[in-house]
């Protein structure tokens, strides 16, 4: 065995995996070296997660070989993967909320007949001290923040003695500060001799953290390159297969007018806890207002309050002015039905596409009808108009669908989003609210969505864009409203604001610095 091969922790050779007719991985070869941080880059549906799931024992490859430390192995279950010292931190956390941290860590290990949490806690502390984590062993997972849960996932994998760690989009839900902390931990683990694979599609993170980048496109392995020899533009071209402009358009706002004036908006949740606390701002027609914040800071409640889906407290005011008129109407205290009856044309693209936005088991035309079912005069439904609308959306937004009559849930996330945005835009809104409109979408589809939003902006629509990727918010939005624990911690200009500045506002540190 040559020197080069002994340096390889894992070799995957000619791995193929199909789901029905879909080829998720086609003869993919990938090497993971010892003591490196490897970025696995690719668009959605390029097969990154599928490939790593085969390494962690979730899926079985249809064909191909896997070598760990030079020996051919078969990984049929997650247990086999642990035994080979491979551990994966999944994008959707694999934790049981009603159990404590320590209980989650020892799940499935069966080290002792009886559960001995004290010993576990001591060993957890050892791991934490070594790499610079904090985990409270007796805290229930349902009481944890997202970053605590992620830390717990990493500790869980380390507790099992993993030397090869796979992190699937670990930064998707973290603030910039939390991301930096995670990267520090990753560097500590690398210094300790561990191999780390990070799946991501955030290019600047790839550049910052990794030693080497491997690129997948549509299930094929495109190639690998040392991070220091490449740049974001080249990586994007590899990922997409052709040159793509990375810059998001930001046309100058024209003919600005007040569309929605929100004043002292307060919303309580069922327990009486303030989810929004005296939120005041103005959304202008002809501009995109970004809304940033750690997840759960009140973004959802804000959009739902405007859409009439939340009960607002007395004293709240939301004055809405339509595109063509100058008469303002009060939305506070109205439910969604009232708002519709008043002729308010607000469109809402909710975070939960298949829960609140569309009905998964219904076809595209049927989903189009959801908006207009009240318009018909006879007791029978009019299927022609929605069908025409569906055809138009599918054609204009290039929706990939097995057929108009197929249930929408059979489509990919990006196409589902296109149908939803298409329907909302077709209603010719004055106010367009989107929540995490590009979450889980690949670069191409994301840019299509950005383009659609910009089109609406040019037509004088007030666009509200709740986002999680600060780079996108800073490139797309004219102004950015930052929410922190239900309060507005600042409204900054998207053209001049710095990322760190927004990050600080998100974590409340901005206010403390002012005070």
């Amino acid at each position: 065995m040559s020197q080069l091969e002994t340096n390889k922790a894992v070799q995957m050779v000619n791995i193929t995996k199909t789901f029905g007719s879909l080829v998720a991985n086609d003869k993919v070869c990938l090497d993971i070296h010892k003591g490196e941080i490897l970025s696995l880059l690719g668009e959605n549906g390029s097969g990154k997660t599928t490939l790593m799931n085969m390494l962690s024992g979730i899926y079985l490859p249809d064909s191909g070989q896997i070598f760990v430390d030079g020996k051919e192995v078969s990984i049929a279950s997650p247990r086999d993967a642990f035994n080979l010292r491979i551990g994966m931190i999944h994008q959707h956390f694999k934790l049981v909320p009603v159990l404590t941290a320590a209980e989650n860590i020892i799940l499935g290990l069966n080290e002792n007949r009886l559960v001995d949490l004290k010993t576990v806690a001591a060993r957890v502390k050892e791991i934490c001290d070594r790499y610079g984590f904090v985990v409270e062993p007796y805290k229930k997972v349902y009481d944890m923040s997202v970053s605590e849960k992620q830390t717990l996932e990493i500790v869980k994998v380390l507790y099992r003695g993993a030397d090869i760690l796979i992190l699937d989009e670990p930064t998707a839900v973290l603030t910039p500060q939390e991301t930096n902390m995670l990267f520090d931990v990753m560097r500590n683990m690398k210094a300790d001799g561990k191999s780390i694979v990070i799946i991501t599609h955030k290019l600047h993170e790839v550049m910052e953290i990794s030693d080497r980048v491997a690129v997948l496109r549509k299930g094929h392995y495109i190639g690998d390159i040392a991070t220091c020899d490449t740049n974001p533009q080249q990586l994007t071209d590899m990922m997409v297969g052709r040159a793509v402009s990375l810059n998001i358009d930001r046309p100058e706002p024209e003919n600005i007018r007040e569309c929605l004036v929100v004043k002292d908006l307060t919303v309580l949740d069922v327990d009486g806890v303030k989810k929004l606390d005296k939120v005041s701002f103005t959304a202008y027609g002809g501009e995109i207002l970004g809304i940033a914040g750690i997840s759960g800071s009140g973004q959802k409640e804000l959009l739902e309050a405007i859409a009439g889906l939340q009960i607002v407290e007395p004293g709240s005011s939301m004055m809405y002015t339509a595109k063509e008129s100058d008469k303002a109407v009060e939305l506070a205290g109205c439910n969604s039905m009232d708002i519709k009856k008043m002729g308010v044309r607000s469109a809402f693209v909710p975070e939960d596409r298949l829960g609140m936005g569309l009905v998964g088991s219904m076809s595209i035309p049927d989903n189009m009808m959801l908006r207009t079912y009240g318009n018909g005069r006879s007791i029978f439904t009019d299927r022609k108009a929605p069908k025409g609308m569906a055809e138009k959306v599918v054609e204009e937004l290039q929706v990939m669908t097995p057929g108009l009559s197929a249930p929408v849930r059979r489509m990919s996330g990006g196409n589902i989003q296109k149908v939803l945005v298409g329907r909302e835009i077709a209603a010719n809104p004055s106010l367009l609210m989107t929540a995490y409109a590009v979450r889980g979408l690949d670069i191409n589809t994301s840019y299509t969505i950005y383009h659609l939003l910009n089109e609406q902006k040019k037509q004088g629509v007030a666009v509200m864009y709740v986002g999680e990727d600060l780079d996108v918010l800073l490139e797309l939005c004219d102004r950015i409203l930052v929410l922190c624990a239900g309060k507005v911690s600042g409204i900054v200009d998207g053209r001049t604001a710095k990322k760190e500045e927004v990050g600080l506002l998100m974590t409340h540190l901005g206010q403390e610095a002012e005070a």
Binding site: I58, M88, K94, P97, L107, L109, N110, E111, L114, Y142
Partner: protein, 327 residues
């Protein structure tokens, strides 16, 4: 005082039937399987235990008490496990809808039990009812060691051994679920099978075992009903099914904690028999009192949902199928 003791004794006997049913169903549901076939499984346990005892007593003119108990328990446990196995195969391997499968199992097993119960009656001499006297006596033999404890002793020693067995199983299951590694894994399977799977737990095996063993325990409730409650006879009056549904209600009442099923089942028994000790009730007003256990369950549900304690919720993945490669 005498009346109170009588009420408590009636409540304990009644409660033991549903305690078996509920503890078995808790184990099943902790693995994420909502088996609404509990009444059916109790039917299976009852009729098969009875059949085993009947044939044993027919073949042996002088049956030994030990063999009576062993055969009846074994028949009841294995038949109930077979019911659990049918449910497991349909819902875990074939991923059929759990509600439909469970309800169908109840209907099937009810028919099965009453068919063979009727046949046994006929075999035993046509008009008369079967009576497995020796087995029933063995099941109803009261222990002697509480004898010299006065009133309390009378109360404690009034029951056959299965009353104490139910207590032991409930306590054991509570310990198993909360203190052992296997119990922890089992709870994880019911809460989040994908998590359990990624942690290296064999989800399918856990679900099968929990459902079959749970069904076996539930089935003992049916056996106890036949051997003690109705003293070794068979009635095709649907009594087992009625108690089976109460066992399902008791699972909710206990918020999926076996130790609460101990006092919960006795409380249900007290509430159920209360009408007997309240003077001046007519046949129709009695029925209103028999409703009390269900009413209490509804109240518990309301209280639990108002408190919204995360620890009193049903297993998060209860009633849902799991398939690893789903995407």
């Amino acid at each position: 005082m005498g009346q109170l003791i009588a009420l408590i004794q009636a409540a304990v006997v009644f409660g033991t039937v549903i305690m078996f049913g509920a503890v078995g169903e808790i184990v099943t549901e902790k693995a994420g399987n909502l088996n609404l076939g509990v009444p059916g499984i109790m039917y299976l346990g009852g009729i098969c235990g009875l059949m085993g005892a009947f044939y044993y007593e027919m073949a042996n003119p002088e049956p030994s008490a030990f063999m009576c108990i062993l055969i009846a328990m074994l028949c009841a446990f294995l038949a109930s496990m077979a019911g659990g196995l049918i449910f497991s195969f349909l819902t875990i391997t074939l991923r059929a809808n759990q509600n439909v499968t469970g309800l169908t199992l109840t209907i099937f097993a009810g028919g099965f039990a009453n068919f063979f119960g009727g046949s046994l009656n006929k075999l035993a001499g046509g008009v008369g009812q079967i009576n497995v006297a020796a087995t029933s006596a063995a099941f109803r033999k009261t222990p002697a060691f509480f004898a010299n404890m006065g009133d309390v002793g009378v109360l404690l020693s009034a029951f056959g051994f299965m009353v104490y067995l139910a207590l032991i199983i409930a306590i054991l299951m509570n310990w198993f679920l909360n203190k052992t590694s296997v119990g922890l894994n089992l709870r994880a399977v019911g809460e989040s099978p994908a998590t359990a799977d990624a942690a290296g737990i064999n989800v399918t095996r856990y679900k099968y075992l929990a459902t079959c063993i749970g069904a076996g325990i539930s089935g003992l409730g049916g056996l106890y009903y036949v051997m003690d409650y109705t003293k070794g006879t068979w009635d095709s009056d649907g009594g087992i099914e009625r108690l089976g549904w109460l066992a399902v209600a008791l699972v909710i009442f206990t918020t999926w904690k076996p130790k609460r099923s101990i006092w919960g089942s006795y409380l249900f028994g007290m509430l159920f028999w209360l009408y007997f000790y309240i003077p001046g009730l007519t046949r129709s007003s009695q029925e209103i009192f028999k409703m009390l256990p269900y009413l209490v369950t509804v109240i518990v549900l309301i209280v639990v949902s108002m408190r919204r304690s995360r620890d009193d919720q049903p297993p998060a993945h209860l009633g849902l199928p799991y398939f690893r490669e789903e995407r």
